[in-house]
Amino acid sequence: MSQSPQDQALQQTALHALHVELGAEMVPFAGYDMPVRYPMGIMAEHLHCREKAALFDVSHMGQFNLAGDDAVAELEKLVPGDINSLKTGRMRYSLLLNEQGGILDDLMITRGAKDLFIVVNAACKDADEAHMRAHLAGDTRLTKLDDRALLALQGPQAANMMGQYDAKLAKMPFMSGMQASLDGLDCFVSRCGYTGEDGYEISVANDQAEDLARALLAFDDVEPVGLGARDTLRLEAGLCLYGSDIDTNTTPIEASLTWTIGKRRKIEKDFPGAGPIMDQLFDGPSRLRVGIRPDGRAPARAHTEILDLDGNIIGEITSGGYGPTVGGPVAMGYVDAAFANDGTEVGLNIRNKVHKAHIAPMPFIKKGWK
């Protein structure tokens, strides 16, 4: 028997009731009923995050703990990053790769004193868990932290607020993590984000998540912000959305994520897909992920064809829309490597009309983190 859509009930995060109370428009996202925008609206939410601070519910993402003496060595078998050199309390952006060098997911890895804390994408978390369970050997113990919510506080005012709970939180370096007590709630706090701004991600027990969210929203300069603005913020910041900008058909080299491959890992060539990836690094990829600025005002959405000046198709937009801080359309996508230099003029086929655009450096905004 086939299931009707009604049978596939959407999951809810620990903050679902709060989103509804705050007047959010809820939409299905990666199997969850999530807030896409609040009454403020996507544009104002986006600008508020860039100017003050925004609170996001990202509890749909997958949180894992990986423990055991072999945890670092075993995880390195699945990612190209140098996890071994990561100091305690530091975190790194990395990629789960398949044997062809394709990207299974992107993830954040924080090294604790005795274990690793891993955050993966919501849509990939079940597949990632199965992949890790199938490949992690030795004494590793992988625990899915289903009992924890994840909140993101992002924006230039975030550090001031976090510093009011614990002065150390305002001083912790970007891309580091630490245990902290926020309003008496036991949290694991990471200084990182997906907006291009300074900010934090806070892992907290599900049954304390609403208390924490309400405490953060009580600051005058914090507004709740939904997934709509989260997407425009990360697009302006030039950050990849898994499933749109990167997937199993893209390699780290093509995705302009070569920097995620550790120096030692390049020498030892012992990560998944190292053969094809190192060949591609040596020979140069045939296509590259680049930033694109349409010269006019029409936004170019995902799947828009990118053309050379003779009208030949040279690539495709993978993410695009209006950048509220830029004040105009911004996009990213893949183009043939010959057209990947900043400033190269291209055309965009938007509803069967060619619109001029050019290849542009990312991020499209001045980054707000140090």
Partner: protein, 125 residues
């Protein structure tokens, strides 16, 4: 000027002589969110009722505009071209989109008056 009439695609039309001014409803602008770009029809284009006549881009997505009546495009709102947010702030006034010279005025009879449109909206939720 005639009373306002609405299509089920959330366009409105007000007739002045044989020229109708067309925009999107307050409900539609709210559902779309912040409008950032409008692709207007070409002046002089002849279109059948229900034809795609342009596109409204909000931060969230692109949505087609359909003409609720047949006719020839005689004007587009240059002010909206310069400031697309007028569609959000004044959808029934300064945020109008285009004017069309009706070729089949009787098509107006198939559109809803304000009360009927309000009832239609209640049925959507």
């Amino acid at each position: 000027m005639s009373d306002i009439r609405y299509s089920e695609d959330h366009e409105w039309i007000i007739l002045d002589g044989d020229v109708g001014t067309i925009g999107i409803s307050d409900y539609a602008q709210g559902a779309l969110g912040d409008v950032v770009f409008v692709e207007m029809p070409e002046i002089g284009a002849s279109l059948d009722k229900g034809a795609e006549v342009g596109v409204i881009e909000s931060v969230k997505a692109a949505s087609e505009i359909y003409t609720p009546v047949s006719g020839e495009i005689v004007a587009v709102n240059e002010a909206v071209d310069g400031d697309p947010s007028l569609v959000n702030t004044d959808p029934l006034g300064e945020g109008w989109l285009f004017k069309i010279k009706l070729s089949k005025p009787e098509e107006l009879n198939g559109l809803s008056n304000q009360d009927a449109y309000n009832k239609f909206l209640e049925g959507l939720d």
